[in-house]
């Protein structure tokens, strides 16, 4: 209770320094938030692309439709398979015409083979898994040809890996910079109260007693900075949506994680700054 009161008193006694700390935390997290927004949207775009990964097994002409249906049901039970669907010759023609738009007449009277279209579950769309599923589907005697855009999948997968690693490295870099800046602002707050701390120690306050209000203060500043950063990121996203490209925003879980991250940075920054100060005096 005393720690909470002391933490609040700091905001009242040094409003400018407190506002500076919160703003610095907010802008550090805002930079991190913008990066997060870009990373999230790249991931969304890759997810949408990955969703289109499909194995298409073309069926030999004359294969009874019942045989194809039984095979389709069998393929649907593969653990990697999300769905398997039979596409008859008529459906294949209709789809080709739909996809080709103004060139639809090219297929006038043409006959396209029936196929089994297999979609894979998320997490089973790596080139190796796709190749393995394709090989198993190809073991059916009536399968004439099998296509799954191997090269395209490999490129997509590589892109995803690069995006993941770049995201991790840049994310860590942004987080580290944020922590350093936040640690420095909290150190300023600690130094501003150095005299008070030295007197507290002289009259017998324990280190944990001295530390507590600073930790609460750091936590509160982290949460406030996080909220402000979230608001700024949301405003930035509104502008991007209006003038550049439609984007997705953090869901509630990610927003809460962002706030928690801000709070943790405030807490850890405070702990490190106060700890260092207490060791040095």
């Amino acid at each position: 209770m005393r720690s909470l009161r002391d933490a609040l008193v700091t905001f009242r006694r040094a409003p400018l320094l407190s506002a500076l700390s919160v703003t610095t935390i907010a802008f550090s997290l805002f930079a991190f938030g913008l990066f997060g927004l870009v990373a999230l949207n790249i991931r969304e775009a890759l997810d949408r692309l990955e969703d289109r990964v499909e194995v298409r097994a073309f069926v030999a002409e004359g294969t009874p439709i019942e045989t194809i249906a039984v095979a389709t049901a069998d393929i649907a039970t593969f653990p990697e398979v999300l769905s398997a669907r039979t596409v008859t010759q008529g459906e294949a023609l209709a789809r080709a015409r739909r996809e080709l738009g103004e060139f639809r007449d090219v297929f006038e009277g043409a006959v396209l083979p029936a196929s089994i279209d297999v979609r894979l579950k998320p997490g089973f769309r790596s080139p190796a898994t796709v190749r393995s599923v394709a090989a198993r589907v190809n073991t059916y005697a009536f399968v004439d040809d099998i296509r799954y855009g191997e090269e395209w999948i490999q490129k997509l997968y590589r892109l995803r890996n690069i995006a993941g690693i770049a995201g991790l490295v840049l994310g860590l870099a942004f987080a580290s910079v944020s922590m350093i800046i936040i640690g420095a602002t909290i150190r300023m707050a600690v130094l501003a109260r150095a005299r008070e701390i030295s007197i507290m120690r002289l009259v017998g306050a324990t280190d944990s007693y001295i530390r507590r209000p600073f930790l609460l203060e750091g936590f509160a500043k982290g949460v406030m900075g996080g909220l402000l950063a979230l608001l700024l990121t949301w405003l930035a996203r509104l502008l991007i949506d209006r003038y550049i490209i439609e984007t997705v925003f953090f869901d509630q879980r990610l927003a809460a994680l962002g706030l928690l991250f801000g709070a943790m940075i405030g807490l850890v920054g405070s702990a490190v700054s106060v700890g260092r100060h207490l060791r040095s005096v």
Binding site: R195, M200, L202, V203, G204
Partner: protein, 229 residues
């Protein structure tokens, strides 16, 4: 109560500050610590409240040893000591009452006991009517009285005063010294570092003189007259 066993304190950059000191200060004693600037008085006092640890030897204060005291032990020891400095070390944004109460708050004293204790010590130091004044509204002597009240509020067994009159005029010095005598008469030991030889000469208290980190005279071991030609 306070014991130094062959204590030496050295610093990497400035060399030896205190050299091979063995000393005992008993219950209720009044001890003057004197010597030129840099003689080691402040370092010796800082070792009493374990702000500094000896490089060699041991300091033992009320059962707490410099050899194995944890930060928690040091905090608990300081609650039993009162410490006063030349520069008062008051918090400028707190009133006299709040400065004194601060020493109780940080030790987790019950809220109901703080007010009466603060009033008692402010009366004891003669500042009953100035409790709501901020340090900038008080004279140097009054500020030092607030610092002494803060040092007394936890009922210490010893009051450590490092040049408490160094910033004060003669009248205020006499007032502060009289206050320290009264505190000592009530049973609290006092260890006071001072340059004020005039003050020392007028008293019959134990006097320890330091020079270059060593004790060169201790009236407890040697009658005062024996030192003078």
């Amino acid at each position: 109560m306070i014991r130094f066993f062959n204590v030496t304190k050295s610093y990497a950059r400035t060399g030896t500050a205190v050299q091979d000191i063995t000393l005992h200060v008993g219950k209720g004693e009044f001890v003057f610590l004197t010597g030129a600037s840099g003689a080691g008085k402040t370092t010796l006092l800082r070792m009493v409240y374990l702000e500094e640890r000896p490089t060699a030897g041991e300091v033992r204060v009320s059962g707490t040893s410099s050899l194995d005291a944890t930060p928690g032990d040091v905090a608990r020891l300081r609650r039993k000591l009162g410490i006063v400095f030349q520069d008062f070390r008051l918090l400028e944004n707190r009133t006299a009452e709040q400065n004194v109460a601060f020493a109780l708050e940080v030790t987790g004293a019950a809220k109901a006991t703080i007010g009466p204790k603060v009033a008692r010590v402010l009366t004891q130091v003669g500042l009953a009517s100035k409790g709501t004044a901020y340090p900038r509204e008080l004279s140097g002597g009054e500020q030092q009285r607030v610092a002494i009240a803060r040092a007394l509020v936890n009922d210490p067994f010893v009051l450590i005063a490092d040049e408490p009159t160094g910033n004060l005029d003669d009248r205020a010095t006499r007032g502060i010294f009289q206050l320290l005598r009264e505190i000592n008469a009530a049973g609290t030991a006092v260890m006071m570092a001072t340059h004020n030889l005039e003050l020392i000469r007028r008293q019959e208290f134990r006097t320890i003189e330091m020079n270059r980190g060593a004790i060169v005279f201790d009236s407890a071991n040697q009658p005062r007259m024996a030192r003078e030609p």
